[in-house]
């Protein structure tokens, strides 16, 4: 009886683990992007507050690309409000980028702010896919620096979404 219970518990844990991994790794959008919906703020308020918080949390904002305004200037009229914040200008980035050039996609980070008609959303890339490929080239400290930077980025986005 005891063996049967142990087997059932083991099977449930294994199945849960399998479905969790499939849920997380089976959808590339979940794997590559961190996307949240912002509550009680419009697009402009979100954009402004996010820039302020990014700077406060040490993820220096380098530039903001007003994509929807640029498209509007070219005659596109029905595009959602959309801007990209270039941030996360970390120190000693040159060493990292030379060692692992694919990290140019993470540093500086591109944070997308947009209003898709259903609400204001913020998307950021996830570091895990790039790090998984480049881990062999990097030191533990460099990996930690990137993970910490992106953890702070997600924390900052969460502060703004509330």
């Amino acid at each position: 009886m005891r063996a049967l219970v142990a087997f059932l518990i083991g099977a449930i844990i294994a199945l849960s683990l399998f479905y969790f991994i499939r849920y997380y790794f089976g959808n590339p959008f979940r794997l590559m992007f961190y996307t949240v919906e912002v509550k009680n703020k419009n697009f402009d308020q979100t954009l402004e507050e996010l820039q302020k918080k990014l700077n406060e949390n040490g993820l220096k904002v380098i530039r903001v690309l007003p994509i929807s305004k640029a498209l509007e200037a070219r005659g596109v009229k029905d595009f959602m409000k959309y801007s990209i914040i270039l941030a996360c200008d970390i120190p000693n980035k040159e060493k990292l980028l030379v060692k692992a050039p694919s990290l140019t996609n993470l540093i500086p980070c591109s944070v997308a702010v947009y209003d898709d008609g259903k609400g204001v959303k913020v998307s950021a890339p996830k570091e895990i896919v790039f790090l998984a490929e480049e881990a062999k080239k990097l030191t533990e400290e460099e990996i930690k620096l990137l993970i910490d930077t992106y953890r702070t980025l997600r924390k900052t986005i969460d502060e703004v979404r509330r």
């Binding site: 790794f25 959008f29 992007f33 996609n105 997308a112 959303k121 998984a132």
Partner: protein, 145 residues
């Protein structure tokens, strides 16, 4: 940490069915500085507009181009706004120890492969067209076009 990341890499490959994240090409016989100038001109000529050119490192020499095509951006971001987190497209030029120059950017073919199930045929076409434009720009630099 490294082992965990390697495990994650295996899981990513198994489930997302994608390959290498980076597409690279080696250019031989042309000095680094010349490659940078020629690539900028070639990219602009393909309407892959260089928004910014950042000299990342002096030794070894490395430059990153931040490139954008608004027409493509309109089509991709309208359907899948999350892809803005990979924009502007980053193309790097890196001088290697043997004197050759490496040019690289995100592997669009593998990106499309990983997301194919979710993307519309129109968006896939735009991604592949952008990839073709960049590859042609690199070919121009090499003098192959």
């Amino acid at each position: 940490m490294r082992k965990l990341l390697l495990l994650l890499a295996t899981l990513t490959i198994l489930f997302a069915q994608s390959g290498k994240l980076l597409y690279t090409e080696r250019i031989e016989g042309i000095p680094y500085e010349e490659v940078v100038i020629l690539l900028e001109t070639a990219l602009n000529g393909k309407n892959m507009n260089v928004l910014e050119k950042l000299e990342v490192s002096k030794k070894p020499k490395m430059t990153v181009f931040y490139v954008c095509n608004l027409t493509y951006g309109d089509k991709i971001l309208r359907a899948f706004p999350q892809f803005g987190t990979l924009a502007p497209c980053r193309i790097y030029v890196l001088e290697r120890e043997d004197g050759s120059v490496e040019v690289g950017y995100i592997n669009v073919q593998n990106l499309v492969k990983g997301f194919r199930k979710y993307l519309t045929p129109e968006v896939i076409e735009v991604f592949l067209k952008a990839d073709k434009d960049v590859k042609e720009a690199i070919k121009e630099v090499k003098g192959e076009m």
